[in-house]
């Protein structure tokens, strides 16, 4: 596998850091060098969260370079638009079709971008844009918090790493009592991507 720079973005509370932790363990178990770092604001909840995961034979910098990410994995639409410029030309954008309006939108001093605007912004970097209804799929499983494992499932279909390693690392990373529903979410995310191919 060539280097994979995976850029995960979303809102605090969506479980992005846990997902990128597990992705890091997967890469390590599969024998790659890996660095991962999160840029968190000061917020416990509700702030913008970004996780950089870099997988290769040898990784130096912990941060992905702007315009170099192979994959943008956005847990929320506005965050997809905000961080799209990290994608390399022709990189893959996986976007959870879910809106979480920030306070400025509620206060009426800012507008939430339309789906078309989000797409237009992402199209500046790539034509490979996959919207998935991850949050409603997770809701369908009975636990909206499984969105992070669902997005991890999406990522898994593009990395040449045995599915057993993914399952093993998820099993090690999550409490037993919520494992089943999370593994189901992982499978759903993986299936969401069956028809998507990296160029």
């Amino acid at each position: 596998m060539n280097k994979q720079d995976i850029f995960m973005v979303g809102v605090g509370g969506q479980g992005i850091v846990l997902a990128s932790d597990i992705l890091g363990q997967v890469a390590l178990t599969a024998g790659y060098d890996v660095k991962k770092t999160d840029t968190l604001g000061m917020a416990q909840r509700g702030g913008s969260v970004v996780s950089h995961v870099r997988i290769a034979q040898q990784v130096h910098a912990p941060l992905i370079q702007e315009g170099e990410a192979d994959m943008l994995v956005a847990f929320e639409k506005l965050e997809a638009a905000r961080w799209g410029y990290f994608l390399k030309p022709g990189g893959l954008a996986i976007v959870n079709n879910h809106a979480m309006p920030p306070l400025s939108v509620s206060l009426g001093v800012a507008c939430y971008p339309s789906d078309e605007e989000v797409k237009d912004i992402l199209k500046r970097c790539t034509d490979k844009i996959c919207f998935i209804n991850g949050t409603s799929q997770a809701k369908g499983l009975g636990d909206i918090r499984t969105i992070n494992m669902l997005m991890l499932g999406c990522i898994s279909s593009f990395l040449p790493i045995d599915i057993k390693i993914w399952q093993e690392c998820i099993t090690r990373g999550l409490p037993q009592k919520i494992l089943k529903v999370n593994l189901a979410a992982f499978d759903l995310g993986r299936k969401d991507m069956v028809d998507v191919h990296l160029g």
Binding site: V34, K35, M42, A43, G46, H60, P62, I64, L107, Y112
Partner: protein
């Protein structure tokens, strides 16, 4: 076997394997997790100290007692701890003493940037700088050896990106057995009367010279051979960015950045056509190298502030004329006008109610514009402090006028009052910050007959750094119950007679307490108690809005609760985010009584 560890985990494991016996810290992003990881080992004494100064003194005492000690803090924590840090340099140590300071280039979670290495120069102690988690582990082991070999505290300087990045670590050792504590009486070494301090002074210079000689052969000061056109001197995470942007250059990678290996630097500079110094924040290495008479380039291209990354590094390389190939990545037009998502108080935060009350009593919504500048005469000045509650400065609450450093709210309020401002001055401080450095401010206010009102927002947690315990909670870092320090008794004991304790979620009571405190000419303290929303385990009946009753007046939006959202002109409450019965601030404030618990609300809303 290799493990994927954060820099902070690796530092903790390194200290553990080095046989550390005592570890002390005050939480501070990005350093907090070091002590949290250490506290998991049962054969170490680890403590959350009241503040960094006390932590440093605890570490120093343990070192004097002959055992290895670790003290951890963020960079501004070293300002607080600087007095014992300087003293530790003068007396030297017995057991190895390592001081971790985690700098924050880019000020991700700090009131400013600061390059801690200057302190080491002032104190004449060695600085080690890891560039990834492996080096964090390795250098921590070395740090204790260097400390004991040279009779000095050692600074181990991390940064946000080192502390909070995960990378692979080969664990090389088992835990060394700690020494048995034993204090060796030595008045001339440990009692810094001027006469003895003067005797120690030349020893510091000797020590520094010995350290500089040691630095020449220190294995983590190493030359990575590449081409001869460009040689890069670098340390910490900056090295990683430079490696990636300049794959053909030669490198002098410094793991020890003070004192510097002069001969090694000269040798390296002599082997390349041009020398570039790459470091985050101040030109610390660069200035030292320039003094050696070596021609280098550096800060004229590498930014002096903000965090470095590959983009900044590449841009600097281009401006310096060191990169000729076209950039791989095309510049993309950045999206304009997207709504920001700044950190805000959580839904159900116990600080929100008090800030709403302060905002309204001071008529701030009317008197301050969105940038916090006055449009009219404010009714009240609110001096703030460091913690989650600093976020109360943002609109729509706008209930904070100043934030400087830990514990400063009370002194600032006192100063404003004594300067003679017309308005009532209110100091707002959290419980952990109050313990850290607010208490002495109250003593000053009592002693000097101040008339300020001090609001202590007590959520029983050091919330912003991740909910650590502190003296007020009476629970240790290991989770054991100890002796809680009672804030109410404490302020009464200092001599404040007007002390009220109010429920953080009772708006009427908050308003009454504040009105009464603002009217009294005496010093007053209002303690606002409520559990942190993140620690609020009981998630009961979220609130909902009865659209039949709601007239869209917008009062609930002005609370600044992120669970209350307005899209397409309809206000709704996100049931996932609302903490329910534990809060109810919006329900209390709704003039139309349109807000109630989900099960009893008559109308349906989304």
């Amino acid at each position: 076997m290799k493990k994927l560890l954060s820099g902070n985990e690796a530092l903790a494991l390194g200290a553990y394997h080095a046989g550390v016996a005592v570890a002390a810290a005050y939480p501070g992003t990005p350093s907090t997790e070091i002590l949290e990881h250490l506290a998991q080992f049962k054969d170490i004494y680890a403590e959350w100290s009241t503040n960094e100064k006390v932590a440093m003194e605890v570490g120093l005492g343990a070192s004097y007692a002959g055992v290895r000690a670790l003290v951890c803090m963020k960079q501004v924590g070293l300002n607080v701890a600087s007095d014992p840090f300087m003293a530790a340099s003068t007396t030297g140590i017995d057991g190895g003493l390592v001081v971790v300071t985690a700098d924050d280039p880019g000020a991700h979670s700090t009131q400013g940037e600061q390059d801690s290495r200057h302190y080491a120069k002032m104190a004449k102690v060695a600085v080690l700088e890891p560039s990834d988690s492996q080096e964090a582990y390795d250098l921590m082991l070395y740090a204790f050896d260097i400390s004991e070999r040279f009779d000095t505290p050692v600074m181990l300087r991390s940064t946000t990106r080192i502390s909070h990045s995960n990378s692979l670590v080969e664990i090389r050792r088992e835990r060394m057995k700690p020494k048995q504590a034993a204090f060796r009486h030595d008045v001339q070494k440990y009692v810094m009367l001027p006469v003895y301090a003067r005797m120690r002074r030349p020893l510091l210079e000797e020590r520094l010279a010995k350290l500089a000689t040691f630095a020449e052969t220190f294995p983590y000061n190493k030359i990575v051979k590449g081409g001869t056109k460009l040689g890069i001197v670098s340390s910490s995470v900056a090295y990683q960015y430079a490696r990636e942007i300049f794959p053909e250059a030669s490198f002098l990678k410094l793991g020890m950045t003070y004192p510097l290996p002069q001969a090694l630097i000269r040798k390296f500079a002599g082997s390349v056509d041009k020398v570039l110094v790459v470091e985050e924040l101040d030109p610390f290495l660069e200035e030292h190298i320039r003094v050696l008479g070596i021609k280098v380039i550096g800060k004229e291209f590498i930014p002096r502030f903000g965090e470095l990354d590959l983009h900044v590094m590449e841009d600097a390389g281009r401006r310096a004329g060191l990169l000729f190939a076209a950039s791989k990545s095309q510049p993309v037009e950045l999206p304009q006008g997207l709504p920001g998502r700044p950190p805000l108080l959580c839904p159900g935060c116990p600080h929100t109610g008090m800030f709403f009350v302060l905002s309204n009593l001071g008529q701030r919504a009317r008197l301050l514009d969105d940038s916090g500048k006055a449009k009219g005469e404010s009714k009240m000045i609110i001096t703030g402090d460091i913690g989650c509650y600093t976020l109360g400065a943002y609109p729509p609450l706008r209930a904070m006028d100043t934030t400087a450093c830990m514990g400063a709210s009370i002194g600032k309020a006192l100063g404003m009052e004594k300067a003679g401002v017309a308005q009532k001055v209110v100091a707002v401080i959290g419980d952990s910050t109050f313990m850290h450095s607010g208490i002495t401010g109250v003593v000053d206010a009592v002693y000097n007959q101040s008339q300020i009102t001090i609001v202590i927002l007590d959520n029983s947690s050091t919330a912003m750094t991740g909910h650590q315990h502190h003296p007020g909670t009476g629970v240790s870092v290991q989770g054991e119950v100890t002796m809680p320090v009672d804030i109410e008794k404490l302020v009464k004991g200092i001599g404040v007679s007007d002390v009220k304790v109010v429920d953080a979620f009772d708006i009427k009571a908050l308003r009454a307490a504040m009105r009464s405190s603002l009217d009294t000419p005496d010093l007053s303290v209002v303690i606002v108690r409520g559990t942190c929303a993140v620690l609020q385990k009981k998630r009961t009946r979220p609130r909902t809005i009865d659209v039949a009753l709601c007239d869209n007046c917008g009062t609930c939006i002005k609370i600044g609760c992120t669970a209350i959202q307005k899209l397409d002109d309809q206000v709704s409450i996100d049931a996932m985010l609302c903490v329910g019965d534990a809060c109810t601030v919006c329900q209390q404030l709704c003039p139309k009584k349109a807000i109630g618990p989900v099960s009893t609300a008559s109308g349906e809303s989304k």
